[in-house]
């Protein structure tokens, strides 16, 4: 018996409707929502510090309220990392929603990823080679848990499993291991399941999202993009598809882009569960929007787990203002020089970009005529928010103190949380399951 796993979110801000469509019409066994980027958990940890009942994903309530009736009606088990820095409070929030909607539900919270209190912060960061605690005041430290953290939760028959930091493909691999009885010795099967998870983990990025290029790479009905699901077999092969009537595309081109997405070494894709060789898998189009994956080899899982450490890195100040018409670029450049001259003594590093010319790639590969309009952008970091506001203020002041014809000034200040990483031995991790249940009358 195969299982059908749907991908209902690929990042914390992902669209809500495709998951509902899958829960209602997808005939799914499992729906996975991946909502936790590297920095998201550091932000969540800060919210938890201010209010101990918070720290789960800000969209958890909205997504659960929308999905709970459909997954309950259709017996779809939901697995998500929306617990972020506080899976237990996230589970309690789901309880509240279930009570309000009069729906029976059993929720399992997976904890153990938070290692802030046990991590040795004097060990060196992978990125800098210097001790973790030299990067800045540390606000979070979360290890990437694997499928073994989720398996006990699946054994509780919970309808919803809510985790903090878990490696993205592990969210998908866990139900395969549970259903097919794969063990950590079945390295090739685990590698195949991990590749399937990797292809699904970014939601619409497998099914035609982030792919279209008009006139070159056409994608039909992108506004109505359908998210993918996989029918997984016991031998680790799978067929990817999406619901009929939805927009998007699943084909060799979309799958190849997603297979290599964020992959540092295609021969060795490392997760807490396995080291998978992406060069050994085979992809084949078998029907429109239907793609088969077979084969794939793996090596035994690593002994240490990666830890992602969030630290306070000050505040980012930004200011923008536009210039248009004849000589717009020269006026924008003059404006940039003026801001630099006024502020350079106050900031270690200042970045000046010209939007419409070279801001996105930091260079331009086109020899082009003068653009009709250009937008000056100035950015710099400071230790304190008050200092960072100086950037936007000085850009705004170009209205009356800069070149002619500047318009549409905007200023922003945002807190910067940096991320560095390190490793922790497996035996220092204590994984735990907390089950909560609501029975509707």
């Amino acid at each position: 018996m195969n299982i059908r796993i749907g991908s209902g979110a690929g990042f914390s801000g992902d669209r809500l409707e495709p998951a509902l469509h899958l829960a209602e019409k997808g005939n799914l066994d499992y729906l996975v929502l991946e909502c936790l980027a590297e920095r998201t958990i550091a932000l969540a940890q800060k919210r938890k510090k201010q209010d101990p009942t918070l720290g789960y994903d800000p969209l958890l309530e909205k997504r659960m309220r929308l999905l709970l009736p459909a997954i309950s009606r259709n017996n779809v088990r939901l697995i998500t990392n929306m617990g972020a820095a506080n899976p237990i409070s996230g589970a309690e929030k789901v309880m509240d929603i279930a009570k309000e909607l009069g729906i029976s539900v059993k929720v399992a919270a997976v904890t153990g990823d938070d290692v802030l209190n046990v991590l040795d912060t004097t060990v060196s960061a992978m990125e800098t080679g210097r001790p973790l605690n030299e990067s800045g005041p540390i606000v979070s430290a979360n290890t990437y848990l694997g499928a073994d953290a989720i398996l006990p939760a699946l054994q509780t028959d919970a309808d919803i499993i809510i985790t903090g930091r878990v490696a993205d493909p592990s969210l998908f691999l866990a139900p395969m291991m549970y259903h097919f009885g794969w063990s950590f010795e079945d390295v090739d099967l685990l590698a195949r399941g991990t590749v399937i998870g990797h292809l699904l983990e970014c939601g619409g990025q497998l099914s035609g999202g982030y792919f279209a290029d008009p006139g070159k790479k056409e994608v039909a009905d992108l506004a109505n993009l359908g998210f993918p699901f996989a029918d997984v077999q016991a031998d680790g092969s799978a067929i990817f598809s999406k619901l009929t009537g939805t927009g998007g595309a699943i084909n060799l081109m979309t799958a190849k882009e997603q297979l290599l997405y964020e992959v540092v070494n295609p021969h060795q894709y490392v997760t807490p569960d396995i080291i998978a060789d992406f060069t050994s898998v085979k992809l084949r189009e078998i029907a429109p929007d239907t793609l088969e994956i077979t084969d794939g080899k793996g090596m035994k899982r690593p002994e240490s787990l990666k830890v992602s450490v969030g630290y306070e890195a000050g505040f980012l100040g930004e200011g923008e203002i536009s210039y248009a018409g004849t000589n717009a670029v020269a006026r924008a450049e003059l404006a940039g020089q003026i801001v630099r001259e006024r502020l350079q003594d106050q900031f270690e590093e200042m970045r000046i970009d010209y939007i419409g010319v070279s801001s996105t790639h930091r260079v331009s590969y086109h020899r082009q005529d003068e653009p009709y309009e250009v937008r000056l952008r100035v950015a710099a970091k400071a230790k304190r928010a008050e200092e960072a506001t100086r950037i936007g203020e000085e850009v705004e002041a170009l209205y009356t103190n800069g070149p002619a014809g500047g318009g549409g000034a905007r200023k922003y200040v945002s807190e910067v949380l940096g991320i560095v990483s390190s490793f922790i031995p497996r035996d220092e991790i204590e994984m735990k399951i907390t089950v909560k249940e609501h029975k509707a009358e």
């Binding site: 990125e127 290599l260 801001s359 910067v416």
Partner: protein, 102 residues
């Protein structure tokens, strides 16, 4: 001379200050030609204003594609970069601006 844009597509990814760029020919028959022309050194030269570190090219023949893994490419990385596109997600288009003789 032909732009890679005419021959292949690409998606960018990031991990810390590392940028990954896939290069996937539309026609699998172009794989060998790209293997010959789009070397790690050639890409390093093309991306000189963007990538400060080493570039490794992985061949992924099972899907007729390449992966370029570029060190020190994202102004420190997504979380602390002062740049506009902090992830470097748009840089797939920078790779496709490269020209090769066909």
């Amino acid at each position: 001379m032909k732009k890679l844009y005419e021959l292949a597509h690409s998606r960018a990814g990031d991990k810390g200050n590392i940028l990954m760029l896939s290069l996937i020919p539309y026609e699998e028959k172009d794989y060998e030609r790209l293997r010959e022309k789009v070397t790690a050194d050639a890409v390093k030269e093309h991306l000189a204003g963007i990538v400060d570190g080493e570039i490794i090219r992985y061949e992924v023949p099972n899907i007729a594609a390449f992966q370029f893994v570029c060190q020190n490419a994202l102004l420190g990385g997504v979380t602390t970069s002062l740049g506009m596109d902090t992830h470097g997600k748009s840089l797939s288009a920078a790779l496709l601006e490269m020209e090769i003789d066909m």
